[in-house]
């Protein structure tokens, strides 16, 4: 108990609170800017922590971490551009809501969900981290593979216009992900003797291009034609979500947060994967699955709650095992070591005050994140009032800056523009971007772990059916993949047999 009080006195000192606040605010801004990611924000601010006494610097990084994951949703909802990869799934329902003039409602829900998700993750970290760590290391390549396949299987559910185009998009994404060194044999794949391609096509520039740059091009076109495409009235009646909304999304938030925490705890996976998996699960469990993709409030809440819960989850292996759960915590690990904290099983025994400080800091950062989000809500929705002819050039410039800053190379900027042009063409052809992004995010995870499983089992495919967790994920994946395709047909067949009303075929394509 003394440890907790000692830790609380560290966190609630003026300096520490100020640093968490500064960190969270910086995180929200970094997250909201397309191309600047969580990892980059933490890497940029990490050297600063060397000069702080004790854990203050680390508390600031925790603030950045939480803030940046949330910040991405602001741009996702308002200008249809994910600020970070983790909020790519938020676009699916966030932007349609904003187009309906409900940007305030969407942002309120995303802020609330982020906070709920973040706090849920923090609670899990405090209460069950040893157990979670056990679950995380208990999973091996076959489980990771099935999890990735499960994530990929949602492409049929997120394709807004046609399932075939969704599947094609998914294949485009998977194809992009194969460029570079073969993960198992280190052979060259589609590298054309280019040093740049050897490292694979950078993910962030492609993401920024597909979503933001393409959208910019479409706005340019609209502007040229003289038709203002966004006459959206933004009247914010209230900042906080209504009680009815909250009651409806709360189960989704908790479910997504649980998914996010577990995914965060698995080494090598992060918010981008968690948000898509949470989204699918939300859709599967929802009483209104038909609303998804057209501005479902659960669709906004699920990815945000999932992605923000990752923060708490990713700290589990970092603190208990000394193994970072995702890229951001990998960078933070350096900051911990500079302060003389060797992470791992002994941390809890040797540094109880520091551990409690991190716990409390994580709660405070999540609460501050919510406060900053709600306080800035009116201000940020004003983006909707900016005329496209001003907003679009700003967004296009930010795209270039964001793409460049990932690797400090112009090639990434060209990749971004190329992806943007491709995205523009695909949007004109009625493709949706999400299946492509899902393919790029989850393709490598699926491929690597499939092949790693087979290396470990010496080519024996039975590992995928003899391990219960793996098998159940695969079964759910098959159901998720085919339900949107065969589901309506089965339904019609059943109805026809019993003489009920038949769903029109074109509607079921949604």
């Amino acid at each position: 108990m003394n440890d907790i009080f000692a830790a609380a006195s560290v966190v609630f000192s003026f300096n520490a609170l100020l640093m968490i606040f500064v960190g969270t605010l910086a995180g929200v801004i970094i997250g909201a800017l397309p191309g600047l990611t969580v990892n980059m924000g933490i890497a940029l601010l990490m050297p600063l922590t060397f000069s702080f006494q004790g854990l203050t610097g680390i508390l600031m990084l925790i603030g950045v971490y939480c803030g940046a994951i949330y910040g991405g949703s602001i741009t996702a909802i308002l200008i249809n551009t994910p600020g970070t990869p983790a909020s790519a799934a938020t676009i699916l329902d966030g932007y349609p809501l904003a187009l309906r003039g409900e940007a305030g409602r969407a942002l309120g829900l995303s802020t609330l969900s982020s906070t709920v998700g973040g706090i849920f993750g923090a609670i899990c970290l405090v209460l069950v981290s040893p157990l979670l760590a056990k679950v995380a290391v208990g999973m091996s390549a076959p489980e990771y593979f099935s999890l990735a396949v499960f994530g990929i299987s949602i492409i049929t559910s997120v394709s807004s216009h046609s399932i075939i185009k969704g599947l094609m998009g998914g294949c485009i994404g998977l194809a992009i992900a194969t460029v570079g060194l073969d993960p198992m044999t280190a052979g060259f794949r589609f590298t054309f003797d280019s040093v740049y391609l050897m490292g694979g096509i950078s993910f962030v520039p492609v993401l920024v291009g597909l979503f933001a740059f393409s959208q910019g091009l479409i706005s340019l076109e609209d502007n040229h034609r003289g038709s203002e495409n966004r006459k959206v009235q933004v009247a914010i009646k209230r900042i906080f979500p209504t009680w009815a909304d909250f009651k409806r999304v709360f189960p989704t938030q908790i479910r997504s947060a649980a998914i996010g925490t577990v995914i965060g705890a698995i080494p090598g996976t992060g918010g981008d994967i968690a948000s898509y998996v949470s989204y699918t699960e939300a859709k599967r469990w929802s009483k209104h699955p038909e609303e998804f993709g057209h501005g479902s409030i659960e669709g906004v809440s699920a990815p945000e709650a999932g992605a923000n819960a990752v923060a708490g989850g990713a700290m589990v292996p970092l603190l208990t095992l000394g193994i970072p759960g995702d890229g951001a915590t990998a960078i933070m690990m350096g900051a911990f070591m500079v302060q003389g904290l060797s992470l791992g099983p002994l941390l809890f025994k040797e540094h109880p005050i520091e551990v409690n400080t991190i716990f409390i800091g994580l709660f405070v950062a999540n609460i501050l994140m919510g406060l900053i989000g709600f306080a800035g809500l009116r201000l940020s929705t004003r983006i909707m009032d900016v005329p496209p002819r001003i907003l679009v050039p700003v967004v296009l410039t930010l795209c270039a800056v964001g793409a460049y800053s990932v690797n400090h190379t112009m090639i990434d900027v060209f990749v971004m523009m190329l992806a943007g042009t491709l995205g523009y063409i695909l949007i004109k052809l009625d493709f949706s971007m999400s299946p492509i992004v899902i393919g790029i995010i989850l393709g490598p995870m699926a491929e690597t772990n499939l092949r790693r499983s087979l290396v470990m089992s010496e080519g024996d495919y039975s590992v995928f059916v003899t391990r219960p967790i793996c098998l159940s994920f695969l079964i759910i994946a098959v159901v998720t993949l085919f339900l949107p395709i065969v589901g309506p047909k089965l339904w019609n067949w059943w109805k026809k047999r019993s003489g009920g009303p038949v769903l029109p075929e074109n509607e079921t394509q949604e």
Binding site: N39, M40, A43, L44, L45, M46, P47, L48, F50, S51, V137, G138, M139, S140, A141, L181, P183, M184, T185, A186, F188, S194, V195, Y196, M198, G199, S202, P267, G268, P317, L321, G322, I323, G327, A330, I331, M332, M333, G334, M337, V338, G340, S342, L343, G344, P345, L346, L347, V401, Y404, S405, N407, H408, T409, I411, T448, R452, V455, M456, E458
Partner: protein, 323 residues
């Protein structure tokens, strides 16, 4: 981004004391230090620590500007510096991959394209197993491996990377056969898999496994070096256990280097300045805090190590390709 890094650099320079006298006289503008790796990794941390403690050697108004360029597995950054003007304004933190990539067709530049200045790290590879594994010593492990060819699962950080080549070297020199499992995401997830019991062993540097070893979850069986590793004085070297030197010497190093044909005067100045840093106790303490064993290896010595490893890996990779 650059502005932000400048800002960060300025803030930091205000913090770290100006203890050392200025010993670099040539710079009239900022020196770029290319780090061909992602921020936060061992290479990045050691590079940043190194330049942090050498900052005071620079004339007023001039600073080191670190730039992370991880594109193309870091090769893009290596090429950029190798092809730049040898005037001392562009440095790069090369890593042990520079001794391997050229033989794997992944890099057009080799150690000969650089002027080595200082080696902040050269950690040996070590064999790590679970603490409750059936083999308690290196000898028992090797016997088990001999008895079960192709059955023992050894994790590494990707095919063709140092830990994989270390495993191949063991196979070749000791007549063993492992089931090598690559974790191209990095050695962290491989150690996670070892803790979870999905692998039988992992080859990595002792520092990366330290927290697990201290907690009694993992055990280091042996290090591949000519002497024992300072952080784990109880762990024997392979040479001691085998009773003979089979050339099982593998180290993960990083060398700060300038382009080849650097004028002798500039090279000397840089070597003196960084030499002072790596010998200072404050710097060494800072490195140890980050789990890195600081070493002192400058100029010619660093070049010798790079050359030696270049030859070792040439053979090893040729051998690996035959399979």
């Amino acid at each position: 981004m650059k502005k932000l890094s400048l800002l960060v650099a300025v803030t930091l320079s205000a913090v770290v004391g100006q203890a050392m006298a200025q010993s670099l006289t040539y710079p009239t503008k900022n020196i770029t230090v290319v780090i061909p790796k992602n921020p936060g990794g061992g290479t990045d941390t050691s590079a940043r620590t190194l330049i942090e403690f050498t900052k005071s050697a620079l004339p007023k108004g001039v600073m080191f500007v670190p730039e992370n360029k991880p594109a193309g597995n870091g090769v893009a950054g290596l090429i950029e510096v190798a092809k730049s003007k040898p005037d001392g304004y562009k440095l790069v933190m090369t890593t042990v991959e520079l001794a391997m990539f050229p033989h794997e067709g992944k890099s057009p530049v080799t150690y000969a394209d650089f002027t080595p200045i200082v080696t902040p790290i050269a950690d040996p590879c070590s064999l790590v197993v679970k603490a409750d594994a059936p083999y308690k010593t290196l000898k028992e492990f090797l016997d088990a491996a001999k008895a079960n060819p192709g059955k023992i699962k050894v994790g590494n950080s990707g095919v063709g990377a140092i830990y994989h080549l270390a495993a191949l070297n063991m196979e070749r020199k000791l007549g063993l056969k492992f089931n090598n499992v690559p974790y191209n995401e990095g050695i962290g997830p491989a150690i996670g898999a070892l803790v979870g019991g999905h692998l039988d062993a992992v080859i990595t540097t002792p520092g990366t496994a330290k927290s697990q070893v201290d907690a009694g979850a993992l055990r280091i069986l042996g290090v591949m070096d000519s002497q024992r590793f300072e952080l784990f004085p109880d762990v024997p070297t392979f040479k001691e256990v085998l009773g003979q030197d089979l050339g099982l010497k593998m180290r993960a190093w990083a060398v700060l280097a300038a382009p080849a044909k650097l004028p002798q005067k500039i090279a000397d100045e840089l070597i003196t300045a960084f030499g002072k840093t790596v010998n200072s106790p404050e710097y060494q303490a800072a490195m140890k805090k980050q789990g890195i064993m600081p070493i002192v290896m400058l100029g010619k010595n660093a070049e010798m190590m790079m050359k030696e490893d270049h030859e070792t890996y040439k053979e090893l990779i040729a051998e690996a390709k035959k399979k």
